[in-house]
Symmetry: D4
Subunit: 249 residues, 8 copies
């Protein structure tokens, strides 16, 4: 959808040929900017409630740079996941207000004051799970959620979890991040009456099979209400949690 | 926790030795009824927001009968999943107001008028997915959700989905049930700005590997905000959707 | 080793050509009775501390009958695992004091008073795990262990476990039986300072993959000191627990 | 088949001892050039319609160089797949008109004017799928197909696909390249009445299992008419599409 | 799309408000008949070139009957796959001209004279592969293809294949059906210059893993131009072959 | 190859236009009898050293009957594997000298006196492995091998094996049949200086994954000289052993 | 639990408001030190019988350093597993008495004289298994066990094992470490009447699938009494063995 | 077994206390040299027919050096597999007559004239399979076999194989090395009446899963008489082939 198309559409609205709702609907589904190797979905904010997120893995540094540059022209908040420091440096050249979160491998741009609502608890089982937990937490924050953290609360010392029931009780949604046997998701799920989003991590070795063990465990959780995202997909969990979290706010 | 313990606890509340909140807290975590082969968790309603759900598979008809009988004495709503007709007959003998949903393999007991709030859309890809879709829908209904259905809307004829955008737009949460390649979850996820819970089904053959193909597809969805439950786990999806659905009501 | 060989060996001991220890050593390793389709290892009691156990699956009813009959002539205690009721009936014809444990699918023969020492706790997560849990418990009992049971104590209602810490504390060894996500093993492992033997069960569906999920979870337990046996291998867990349990008695 | 054999064969044709067809048949199936470590199949062009393609992975730089050199003596068009820049440099020394396509990792030699017929559409889901998509597109082009490209049209923003229905309608064959959940193949398959060749890519992480998720999804496509090639096998898809594309031209 | 909508659409075409092409386009994408549990896609013939195919597995006999009845009212040719004899009997009651192909488990309805064009060769490796081969052959025939068969031509006796080169040469497309190690696809692929569609079957045992061995083998075929469908998916192969076969006719 | 072709060929040999060797060569590769659903390879005896073996699984009773009948007209020895009793009954009607080996599920026809040479030892780990072991043993016998048996010699009581070293020493080839962990193959392989063919069986449960555990173990044997066949493939092991066994006789 | 809480608890004990046992119980389950990214479980020694073990993989050098430093303030013995030399160097700066075991990748701190009781035999199959075997042995030693070693005793030369029966007989517990087919566990298990803990290693290639073959083999051991830990988990085996070994001492 | 033991044994033979056969028997099973981290099995030549082979992967350079040095003192022929150039350099320092075969990654020591008997054909499908094929060929040669090679004869151009039937006919045993779909093993197996040992290689990508595809294909070969070794296990195939090859010489 080039400039003239948008202009034409707006004129139709102004002149009463399209109602406001019709105009919104058209804007929601049609337009994208075509860079050849990528179609940038500028209106995803309207349709999905958040701007397009850039999955940086498998892209060249130059591609990431160009996509972020294009998004930066129209979007308020931008998120790039699985970004390397090299990618960040290239992005910073063209989007000076971009920030990098090394542990979480995220590039973020956040403009204006973001109101943070609700309460998401991100809990993780061990220190080695932190990169994924932080990816979830920062994703949720940039989407406008208030986030609390409860780290290193694995079931090998369950009192570390039980002593923090207050955090569980205060949350609207809980994200549980765990590798190895992933048991934390089931234990948390059994303690709360709110949605639990489980993120298996690839932390472990041998028969962990890069996170398969935790993934299967979480999918088979005996606690109802637990849903699961891909291995190491902190972003997906943070995104889903933020969507749930804003309900009723 | 036997009768005397509960009595004692209540006396403490009455006499001001425990506040109401302290009393509630104690009741939340302690008691269960021990039948030897099963510990019935009568207070799960308090702790989790819904009474204990009975997973009937792998239990004898007699065990299911006894557990349902025990629950029926104290609970308002009861749910038994993966129940055979034989189990239902045995339960009906001792819990006359139990109902059976053959397609969904559910035994339900629902007492009093249940107010149905919010709006969950249960969508499925094909007719063969109906048993799982119905398990999700009925589970959500017994937990107090208003449920809409959109069946046989698989991506092989995507206009069947696109023509029902109104149903997608009206929902607070969407449950997507699909077997084979499970693509419906990603397509729906890309169209809405609300939580999508994906249920892979074992519908398919060969390299479907009993639902593995759909499960992996859903876990790898390119649409953010999609979370996943176990293969054929309509109950789990319905339960999670109902928890999310009641937020903000 | 036929009769004459044993006679000759004993004569050598009597006449001082072999010491008692040398005689014992020879008897330990050599003899078995050859029925053609099976070699019955009558002296396993000496070598392993318990008579040969008959794995009945995959054998014909007639084969099981003949093996049990042969063992019954010389052994005090006999154990047949994964036995069908038909097998039991055939065995009973020739070994009248054989007993059948339907849930655990065990045929046992127990002669004389068995002293029961130590204390093994067999815990299971759900009612559907009972067949495997009972296989473990009865196996340990016939091997001379005192066995306590804690059933239906899964992590979805962790207070059911925490309220039974006394049972955990009293045990010398704990056998944990669980299907689905198998989280109970890690939680128990984190609470005790004694060996935990985890038995994954095939209870579950979909991504449980017939017990694979629980197996992987238990192998990846974050609680040190947990060792694992094959899926549904209650016998193996009971056997190992009994060997550990008798240490120090 | 050395020179004298070919000479002899041609003499037989000249003298009428073999018909033209018999001569062609013999030439089709017999000859290859033996370099010891490789047998170069110079007449594959006759038999298969395209010269032997060199799979460079797992070969040494020197082997690739020698094979390409030998092919370059007799073939019009040559294709080397999965070639590294080092391999290309070595080839260029002996085949100066060789070209390198970095993204697609292809070495090509194209001599004379190649007429490009038909119309193959290569569509891909995301920017990270480009290397595989380009491998397919260039392979088809060197085999004489006209190729159109539709990149970054994944189902998370399905309007990007629907707005390009013209490209779908104009194609004779569609190659769909997608990683993660690979849903694009089913959606495209449901929209067109022409052959769709699906290429799963290893783009993704965690439960993508290096492309397994997309592979299984595509094999289980609910849209009839979709066939599948190996993960990341852009070459195979381009080759098959080119064979179909030239039918009826 | 109810009657009035279609009527309205046609009036628009008649009155020149829509061109013929616009009218066709609209009809292509919109309508379906909604039976509640199924949405019947009557216009798939326009969009995909063949009427909706009914996948009968996982549906009740009654559902299959109703769907076939609805399709029979408007379609010329109908295909039901993976149908049991019971399903056929129920269908026959309401669609008397339906036929049943027992080996291939297909229900077909074929009205009027079907012209059979082109030439598809369906080859299979062993007699045990016949059900899948016949599913492919009959599917292609009902879609208007001329089909030749070459059965029991596995590579253990490769002369059986080589002696039938005439059949390979005469075909426009080849469907290769094979279980066990699935080598036939690669051998055929290396002999011809036309598209080869490979169908792995679940024939075999042990490490065949229900067709996984043949599937992986075919996906890894060293012969370019081979594409693959799901295990035992004779229908899919026949459908794709028929689409290719009609090109250029 | 019809009668006239064979006649013509023989005339050419008689008249000296073909040498004996050329005639044999031609006969080796060409002929088969085409029953439509099967191509019977009557000359496999010449080419492979043993007549075509009929894999009965997946064939109808009638197909098996017809194939055996056709083979019985020209072959001396016939073997049908994985045959049911029903198949045998049908075969017996048309081939009265056919025999059935129930445990091994084999149909055999053996005509004239078979000289049995060499010495193959078939060893198995447990009684449950007998069906596969007998399939191997009888296959080897019908191919002319002398076969010795050593059953129930698993490593849980390794003296049963060590006491039978004489049998190991006397054999030219050893076939080792074992399920569960399949350790017997490695132990035997370490004791002998002759080829060991290992057959994993599906005996076991849980993480045996229907023989996968034994298969992987045998493929990874630390004893050099062990080769492996498919799970439960007693026939294949017996066949390969017989081919090796006749070397040097 | 901060200082004041502990002080308060101790005062209660001193004043008789809590018995010694009650005080011990409270201390067992409550306290941990919170460093933000990690919760250090100082009282695990009381609860589990050994101080918290640090799993170093996936942690930053700085995190490992801080955790070890914190533990070093209160613990007598410390163990860090899967530590790199870089981690050790950083730890040594702050915990000068830390030692590094390069082969086993362990950091240990051992203060005061450690009495070594019982007798654990660590046996391994090949030299390549040494890193895992040493991890097991040193873990057991730091937990107070006397450890004997029997290395390179794989079943390919079973006399190496049989000649060391004295070591097997002298042990209270046996740890068996083996890669490839892992047969050593079953052979040892069949020879002894004591607990055997099997550790599969990732030694091998191809169908070893990084230790899966050995893992499955050990889980399916035909010798009763064998329990299994994760692939390459020498630490877990040593820990469990040490817990069993101290029984009865 | 130290010197004195051997001396004593020989004296017993000399003096007639042991027969020659008894002496040989004792020497066969007893001795090894213990270097601590390895037990060198000097008499394997007697027991297995070839000296101990050193699997170098997973060993340190120093360990390999010491083992080779020890073997070099007593053995005539030595073989080290999967050796790096670094290992070879270290070995050469202490065993100057050691040779290195770079492609095959083998270290060999061969002393005296080795008579080469029989005839093993090593065939491979593609140039990328050469390292494994050479490992097989050189292993067989050092064990005294005459070896012929047929390389790059994959089924994509089957005439390359068929034109070399002379090589197949001349061999006593055939080793077939192939990656990707591994079809060559079945095709060769169907053409010959001699043992075929199949070696799957990890050549390929995507759904080759590092050689799994070829492995499964070979295990499911429809050609009887094919046995299989581990992925990339050229050594194992060469060893087994050499054992078979010397039969009857």
């Amino acid at each position: 959808m080039d400039q003239s198309e948008i202009k034409n559409l707006l004129e139709q609205v102004r002149d009463g040929h399209l109602t406001i709702d019709q105009g919104l609907e058209k804007l929601k589904h049609l337009p994208y900017e075509d860079l050849g190797f990528v179609k940038i979905d500028h209106h995803r904010q309207l349709r999905r409630g958040f701007a397009e997120v850039v999955y940086c893995a498998g892209k060249t540094v130059e591609q990431v740079q160009k996509i972020m540059e294009a998004l930066a022209k129209t979007e308020k908040n931008i998120l790039g996941t699985r970004a390397t420091p090299e990618m960040y440096e290239a992005v910073q050249d063209v989007v000076p207000d971009a920030e990098y979160h090394q542990l979480a491998r995220l590039i973020t741009v956040q403009r204006g004051e973001q109101k943070q609502v609700g309460n998401i608890l991100v809990a993780c089982a061990g220190t080695s799970d932190l990169p994924v937990a932080e990816e979830a937490a920062i994703t949720a924050e940039i989407m406008g959620a208030k986030v609390d953290r409860l780290y290193d609360a694995g079931v090998a010392g369950i009192h570390r979890l039980l002593m923090n029931r207050g955090k569980l009780d205060a949350a609207k949604v809980v994200v549980v991040v765990a590798g190895m046997e992933g048991a934390l998701a089931s234990v948390v799920g059994g303690l709360v009456d709110k949605p639990v989003i489980a993120v298996p991590t690839s932390v472990g070795y041998g028969a962990s099979f890069n996170g398969l063990a935790a993934l299967l465990a979480m999918l088979n959780s005996c606690s109802a209400g637990v849903t699961v995202v891909n291995i190491d997909n902190g972003f997906g969990a943070g995104y889903a949690a933020a969507m749930i979290n804003r309900m009723g706010e």
